[in-house]
């Protein structure tokens, strides 16, 4: 685990669970799995505090425990899972877009509490819905469970003797993060198609993906073949394209060099599959408004190649934004040509030598580009050696991911700093709000309310507005960086899985 990851995990734990949980989590992350008493010793906390913290962490699946053969229990922190806290808003928002308010609230409740029995979760969501909207609180929401639940049935050891044991006692549900990740990857694919071709094509691909959601295993490289008739029947209601038009779109998609869609047969009007590992292609250019140019050299049914495209698109974007478009041109050139000498770079990129040199060195110093030595003679004499510039995509991706973790940690610290600096003013503002609220409830006059409002002076109001604007900006940035983290992590993870 890198320092950057550790620091980020620390901040996330502290912000959401407090310092005691943070200390315990920290100790586990830094020194590895250990039993309770060592943890107490390390953290310097009281045993009860540590126990409480562990209960919270286990409840939220951030720590797992294992009973050792000799009977002692060892606790282990799950760093990847802790980092997912950053993505909670995205999970909740996605649930909202897919399943509406009940879905959103359900995912939110499950994330807030770690895991819940269904009866409990449904009751909470129903309460919240009736709070906001009258008459809409239904108790049965069968749509959400299959997609988002992961049930854990436990044998009941003993009836606790409590008055009401709910009928689903012992069965807990939690959010299936991996399934959401699959969805995000699918979203990226649809997005890429939309910007590369057009809206309708992306709808076709989206339909195909939707049809295959449940039948495609999580790590699969293709969807099951779908016949064009089936696709035609499953298109969303608003799309009134004729069958022939659909066929044309499918043919176009299959012919596209990106090979999102492959034709696998002719039955049923032609069967097509979607290369899911192409779902790794994404328009991941969050920073540009123009569509990305994605360059591919071979069929993306090869998972690795598809993910390389994804990661390289992100890298290109980062180079462009940090160093400028000429530098990005050199970078893309190196990606395409793999290894180039100094002179060749100047020639192919059509950039004057001095400028090209300068750009290469800058990228070299940032480790985005590296030098490869190819000796001509066995004695590796410097004058008889080729020096080639190259991009090591995996290394660059790791480096940038590390930088992302650092960035988010810095953003969080800055945000907390801003809040601390303005603590006094914030508290004052809250008090004034409370007073105003209670005065309004008891029907005070406008003049009195105005008097209370005046308690916060003009400059103070300005200060509060600045604070709010800054904090919002920082929060939005954190969300943004997490998108890049998702892309890079997906790429690295799948590359590591290759035999």
């Amino acid at each position: 685990m890198t320092q950057a990851e550790l620091r980020l995990c620390s901040l996330l734990l502290q912000e959401h669970f407090g310092e005691i949980v943070e200390k315990v989590g920290n100790s586990l992350l830094r020194t590895g799995p250990r039993p309770l008493r060592l943890l107490v010793g390390d953290t310097g906390l009281l045993p009860d505090q540590v126990k409480k913290a562990l209960c919270v962490l286990i409840q939220h699946s951030l720590v797992r425990y294992e009973v050792q053969p000799r009977g002692s229990v060892e606790y282990e922190a799950r760093s990847e899972r802790i980092l997912r806290i950053l993505r909670y808003p995205r999970y909740i928002y996605t649930a909202k877009t897919l399943y509406g308010d009940p879905g959103e609230l359900l995912v939110e409740e499950l994330l807030l509490h770690g895991h819940l029995p269904m009866s409990c979760a449904v009751a909470r969501v129903a309460d919240r819905l009736t709070e906001t909207m009258e008459g809409k609180g239904k108790r049965r929401h069968s749509c959400d469970e299959e997609e988002e639940g992961e049930s854990k049935a436990k044998r009941q050891k003993k009836e606790g003797g409590s008055s009401e044991t709910p009928p689903d006692d012992g069965i807990y549900w939690q959010v299936n993060l991996e399934r959401f990740h699959q969805h995000f990857r699918a979203q990226a694919l649809v997005s890429a198609v939309a910007s590369r071709m057009d809206q309708t094509s992306s709808e076709v691909v989206r339909t195909m993906l939707r049809m295959s959601e449940v039948t495609t295993a999580s790590g699969a490289s293709h969807t099951q073949p779908l016949s064009s008739n089936e696709i035609f029947r499953s298109l969303p209601a608003g799309y009134n394209i004729g069958k022939q038009v659909l066929d044309q779109y499918l043919a176009l998609l299959a012919d596209d060099p990106l090979e999102f869609v492959g034709k696998s047969g002719d039955s049923g009007g032609g069967t097509y599959t979607v290369s899911i590992l192409c779902e790794e292609l994404g328009v991941l250019n969050q920073k540009h408004s123009q569509p990305l140019e994605l360059s591919f050299t071979s069929a993306p049914t090869d998972l690795h190649k598809a993910l390389v495209s994804l990661a390289t698109a992100t890298l290109e974007s980062i180079v462009e934004e940090s160093f400028g478009s000429r530098c990005a041109r050199i970078f893309r050139l190196l990606l395409r040509k793999k290894h180039l000498e100094q002179k060749q770079v100047e020639d192919f990129a059509m950039i004057p030598a001095k400028e090209a040199k300068d750009m290469l060195y800058r990228m070299l110093s940032e480790n985005l580009v590296s030098l490869q030595e190819i000796p001509k003679t066995p004695d590796h004499a410097p004058s008889r050696t080729f020096y080639l510039y190259t991009v090591n995509v995996m290394a660059a991706a790791r480096m940038l991911l590390h930088r992302c973790y650092k960035s988010v940690a810095n953003l969080m610290e800055r945000r907390q700093h801003e809040m601390r600096e303005n603590k006094r003013l914030l508290e004052k503002s809250q008090r004034v709000e409370a007073i105003l609220a209670s005065m309004q409830a008891t029907g005070a006059e406008a003049a009195q309310l105005h008097e209370v409002e005046e308690m916060i002076t003009g400059p103070e109001r300005q200060q509060l507005e600045n604070l709010k604007r800054n904090v919002n900006k920082i929060d939005a940035s954190e969300n943004q960086v997490d998108e890049t983290i998702f892309v890079l992590e997906s790429f690295i993870e799948s590359t590591m899985k290759r035999p």
Binding site: I20, I58, Q59, E321, P382, T385, E433
Partner: protein, 216 residues
Amino acid sequence: LSMAGRGRGRGRGQMTFNVEAVGIGKGDALPPPTLQPSPLFPALERRAVPLPGGEEGEYMLALKQELRRAMRGLPYFVKPGAPRRDIERYSDKYQLSSPTDNAIDWNPDWRRLPRELKIRVRRLKKGRTTPLVPKQRVALDKEETIKKLESLEKKEEEVTSEEEEEKEEEEEGKEEEEEEYDEEEHEEETDYVLSYFDNGESFGPDSDDNGDEAVY
């Protein structure tokens, strides 16, 4: 030994490899040597692209802040024990302190957690008010004595809970009497309804974030 340094420094910056191959021609000006660590906030050459706005971004932002706020209020947010006041106040007796380290304020499913994490809490029964009485009397003594006694209490609890664990390990498979948690331990026996009591200090610097919510 002094011979070892000879030959170095002659000619500008000799390198072990042929610098021409990398592109540094003869007579080119090299950038000046770096004599200090890079600045903490290096100047940005180009402005960062603005954040994507839009409904999705706004909503996710609101969700993020709402989530943060909500989690602070949940029992999973473990707060350290209330700081000791400098002067013992009369009102302390009537104030419901937030559950200190000794209690866990939510109900985990103990079937899914290791036994050792269960915090042993003293039962509060009518017949057993005696352990509490010394606690209250102690409040009138000086602080050092309080601390001493509390640490002794804690030790006693630790010892007993350790003993419990050993016993449990020996008696595998037997039905054990489970310690009942009593979350009412902190409810003092007074004639006054505690939620009505407000000593007017909730606007002070010690208050929690949500001063406008009632304390039950």
